[in-house]
């Protein structure tokens, strides 16, 4: 088979390593980077990683199938994972985590003054189907205070393990029309235009299928695409 083609990330289309106002980005960024070739170790990755990472329910709003629902507006997310030539990435491991409807995470370091929700699972894992698609049911996360005068707009975290070392992706998805989007330090660290817009989900029209939930769709693009077969 032709080798998959992987391009380096382009700085002008990615978040910078150092973000003004986010002190840790300055103490956790190397002074220098070294160019490296893409060898077989980078072209490969853990297919079937669900043998290590247990996949659970795609419904984060209850801790058991018949249990009570978490507080907050119910939402559906229809996601799709594609490579950078729009071919679906099947079997990708999607890990999801986000704050509850009040803006509180399930994490001991979260000091935000908002209530826990015993029925909210905080997130989970799903695997993409043959067409690169996945769906989750959850409650829409609330905004929360992240610094003395800094708030995060509602967002959901995603970690994706695709097919290689090169296509690993960690990103965040925001919601359209949120007033705090204009002030979110991380969303606005992404370059204006397409990169920033690519982090915001699309709302889907109300439908019978979505029922009591609002519905969104979002596309995740992993680096790499199949080579032409002539070595190019």
């Amino acid at each position: 088979m032709a080798d998959t083609v992987y391009q380096p990330y382009i700085d002008s289309k990615q978040t910078p390593h150092r973000v003004q106002g986010y002190a840790r980005t300055f103490t956790r960024t190397p002074d220098a980077f070294v160019e490296r070739p893409v060898t077989l170790t980078e072209r490969t990755g853990p297919l079937g990683v669900e043998q290590r990472l247990a996949v659970g329910s795609a419904d984060f709003t209850r801790t058991s199938p018949d249990g009570p629902r978490a507080q907050g507006p119910l939402m559906l997310l229809h996601g799709r994972v594609v490579d950078d030539c729009d071919s679906p990435v099947a079997g990708a491991m999607i890990e999801v985590w986000h704050a509850n409807a009040s803006g509180k995470y399930i994490h001991e370091d979260d000091a935000f003054n908002a209530p826990f929700d015993p029925n909210f699972t905080g997130g989970g894992r799903v695997v993409t189907d043959a067409d690169g698609r996945f769906s989750i049911t959850t409650v829409k996360p609330g905004p929360y205070r992240a610094g003395p005068a800094s708030w995060r707009a509602p967002h959901i975290h995603f970690s994706i393990i695709g097919t290689s070392w090169m296509d690993r992706m960690v990103t965040q998805m925001h919601f359209p029309g949120e007033p705090l989007n204009d002030f979110d330090m991380l969303l606005n660290a992404a370059p204006d235009g397409t990169p920033r817009e690519s982090m915001i989900a699309h709302a889907l029209p109300p439908s019978i299928e979505a029922g009591d939930a609002s519905a969104f769709e979002h596309v995740f693009v992993l680096r790499g695409h199949a080579g032409s077969g002539d070595g190019g």
Binding site: M1, D3, T4, Y9, I10, K13, Q14, T15, H17, R18, A23, R24, T25, F26, T27, R28, P30, D31, A32, F33, V34, R36, T39, L40, T41, R43, G45, P46, L47, G48, V49, Q51, R52, L53, A54, D84, C85, E95, W97, H107, D109, D110, G122, G123, H157, S159, T163, S164, W165, R168, V170, T171, Q172, L186, P195, R196, S198, M199, F220, V221
Partner: protein, 194 residues
């Protein structure tokens, strides 16, 4: 062609339950042991001013004991160890330590050169906006002087990419190796443009 999604930090609240302790032991799969020499690989992650970095996520990817990958990009995948996945994840503790139990990776001839035994490693954490990637080598440079990744690194800092035998950390069944990471400043670990 579409641009890849925008990288973001995992933030401070990556759920601890998504870094199961079972992900730190690579030495078996589906109930059967992997082939090869059992080792531990551990070390401390230090940010600027050599402050230990807790709550970081370390992920590794490596070939099996014969240098093979269970992946279609590897023409020799059919011979790869069926009981070795080659992938692990570990959250650092309060003092910035990670620890994996794994198999000594094998040497392997690549089209660009003969690879030294090596393990790819990446870091995720609050404040790391795009993953930091490096490669941990075992042995010494004279074994495979043409390793294409090691030779891409300036000679003066290559020694920072080698894991060291650490007999004081040995266990009954495992040879211990230590690999510390300095993210920034003097003795900075070489990281790769991604």
């Amino acid at each position: 062609m579409a641009d890849p999604s925008v990288w973001q930090t995992i933030g401070p609240f990556f759920p601890t339950r998504l870094a199961e302790p079972s992900c730190t032991d690579l030495t078996e799969l589906r109930g059967k042991p992997a082939r090869g020499t059992r080792i531990t690989l551990s070390g401390q992650i230090l940010e600027r001013d050599r402050q230990p970095m807790k709550n970081a996520i370390v992920e590794i990817w490596q070939p099996d004991s014969e240098g093979l990958f269970p992946h279609p990009a590897d023409p020799r995948a059919a011979s790869a160890d069926p009981h070795f996945l080659g992938w692990g994840r570990c959250a650092t503790d309060a003092n910035g330590w990670y620890r994996f139990r794994t198999i000594m990776p094998g040497r392997r001839a690549d089209n660009a050169g003969t690879r030294l035994p090596h393990i790819n490693m990446m870091l995720l954490a609050s404040g790391i906006m795009r993953r930091l990637t490096t490669t941990v080598f075992f042995g010494d440079e004279t074994v495979s002087p043409d390793d294409p990744v090691l030779t891409a690194v300036p000679p003066a800092s290559r020694n920072r990419l080698f894991a060291r035998r650490a007999p004081e950390l040995d266990r009954v069944t495992d040879e211990a190796y230590r690999f510390d990471i300095v993210i920034q400043g003097a003795e900075e670990t070489p990281f790769f443009l991604d």
